[in-house]
């Protein structure tokens, strides 16, 4: 294996066992040696883009390319994350808004030329390196072979359950473990997401997107609510600021409506082209569920 430090050899060997052998894959062979990266060495592999994995709780990854007799190439990456919540979160970050849901692992999805699935603490990504060649059946075959080798399972983090299912666009759901994931989905919340423990986001048919950010304690969430009030009322480009009951409202420079509500350790937002009644109804449904939420491990 390339890039294996001696102390990481044991973990590397464990990940090696997850790589399907060519005999399981028909007319495919391994293309080159597997690569193994651990901890901050992920920077060597994902140069300039490792932070998001680190934010979600990256431990190590093994990478193996495969090649068919016809010359079609696939890349298999098996990421071991800190917890099932970390793996699920990274899965939601990477999945396509337009992919096909798969019954693979805990959750899986096939997109145009790549597949992601999570299972327990593991996130598996399989990519066709020549997307002009249709390789979806081969991608699926590799995915199923890895799935059989993964002997653990996880469940969705509890916070995801606060997104009520009615009218929810499922592939849009993202679970966050830090501010970078949040700011990628909604730059407007970048500052407010500093210090979060977890977060979740989902788009609704109504045109609104729900974000819920979880802070370590009520003091932190109250401080962030005050910060939100400052941003939405004072910053250039924001207008129509108002407070009605427990809900802050404003309009951002792009003309989108914003509604925010504090609930214990949480801040809930609805952002988008949505009217006040619909947004408040969404916030009500979310906050009812927040009150009975189990803690994310």
């Amino acid at each position: 294996m390339a890039h294996v430090a001696p102390q990481a050899l044991a973990q590397g060997r464990a990940l090696l066992d997850l790589l399907p052998e060519p005999s399981e894959l028909g007319a495919w062979s391994k293309d080159g040696e597997p690569q193994f990266f651990e901890g901050e060495d992920l920077y060597i592999y994902i140069d300039g883009g490792a932070e998001i994995y680190q934010e979600y709780g990256f431990l190590r990854v093994i990478v193996q390319d495969y090649k068919s007799e016809a010359g079609v190439r696939l890349s298999l990456e098996v990421f071991e994350m800190r917890s099932p919540a970390s793996a699920y979160g990274m899965f939601t970050f990477k999945r396509s808004p337009r992919g096909l849901a798969l019954d693979l692992g805990d959750e899986g999805q096939l997109a145009d030329y790549y597949l992601n699935f999570c299972k327990g603490r593991f996130l598996v990504t399989i990519t066709a390196l020549d997307p002009e060649e249709s390789a979806n059946s081969e991608i699926l075959a590799v995915g199923r072979a890895v799935n059989l080798r993964l002997n653990e399972a996880g469940t969705r983090p509890g916070l995801v359950s606060i997104l009520t299912e009615e009218d929810l666009l499922e592939p849009s759901v993202k679970f966050f473990r830090g501010p970078l994931g949040v700011s990628n989905s909604e730059p407007l919340l970048a500052g407010l997401a500093a210090g979060i423990e977890n977060g979740v986001k989902g788009d609704y048919v109504s045109g609104g997107t729900v974000f819920v950010l979880e802070y370590p304690d009520a003091e932190s969430s109250e401080e962030k609510m005050a910060q939100a009030k400052d941003i939405f009322s004072d910053l250039r480009g924001f207008d129509r600021f108002g407070v009605s009951g427990r809900v802050l409202s404003s309009r951002d420079p792009k003309g989108r409506s914003i509604f925010a509500r504090l609930e214990g350790n949480f801040l809930a937002f609805v952002i988008g082209d949505i009217d006040r009644d619909e947004a408040c109804a969404l916030l009500d449904r979310v906050t009812v569920r927040l009150k009975t939420l189990p803690k994310v491990p």
């Binding site: 080159g32 901050e40 920077y43 060597i44 994902i46 140069d47 300039g48 883009g49 490792a50 932070e51 998001i52 680190q54 934010e55 390319d65 190439r73 890349s75 970050f93 990477k94 396509s96 808004p97 337009r98 997109a111 145009d112 030329y113 790549y114 990504t125 990519t127 066709a128 390196l129 020549d130 997307p131 830090g178 501010p179 970078l180 700011s183 990628n184 730059p187 970048a190 500052g191 997401a193 500093a194 210090g195 420079p253």
Partner: protein
Amino acid sequence: MSPQIERREFLKRGLKFGLLAAGGSAFLSFSRGALFDQSKSLPDIAAVSGDDYEKNAFRAVELLGGIERFVPKNSRVAILANVQSSHPGTFTSPAVLRAAIRLCRQAGAKEVDLLSWQVLKNWESTGLARVAAEEGATLKLIERDEANFRPVPVAAGKSLSEARILNILFDHDVFINMPITKDHAGNRFTGTMKNLMGINSPASNRNFHQPNWQTDRTAIAFLDQAIADLNTVVKPSLNLVDATEFIITNGPFGPGELLKPKKVVAGVDRVAVDAYCASLWGLGVGDIIMLQRAAEHGLGQPDLKKVQIKEMSL
């Protein structure tokens, strides 16, 4: 070899390659003209779309005044492509690279070198090594050893006080920057300016990211400022950007959603070119801190209304 450069050699090299000392600052400029063509007879940005990416690249450079504007006869050309990953839409198109090498040959370049501290595997799996071999360009893979990089003070730097530039870059007369434009999970956008991290040492690049993998807004702003700072000390002769097929999610590594504008974009002004490329998928200058910081450094024009753009479809 010592990573330190003798002051005498530094000045000698600096004079030879346009490394100007002004108030303690250093600036490695490969540019052969004003930032904007004074006569306005030529566009600042040329963007050509079509199914044949090699032809698009040829035409984009032609619209910009022709390769001879950038590559003198008998010059030694350094090309910096992006070979960060072999996932689709994350690396410079082999067709666009092929065009660039052929253009340099056409201009009478004595030497065309592809500089990289990425590993050979990336070059092979992306098909870019094959293009280099077929076109007679030399792939110069540099070990990540700090001795292969030269300290360059960043006098105007706010996040970055010293860059560490590939020694071998100083042996060239022309520098063509050839990124692929794409998404970036940290600062949302990759283009000409971020690509210059490919000539800075990996150890120095790591300092662009704050310790302990902080990922909050301050850390991202620090990264963006560092990229803008780096760009104050090196100015490419030409930026030839692959905007043919690129990822707009899960960048910079992918796999992610592919957008296919089928465009090749050429220009000297990095800020303007990046602003144009970002606009291809709906990002504005307000969305990208790096562009704002670069504009504050005076590196170029972020307002596309003030830039002459020539678009063409083949």
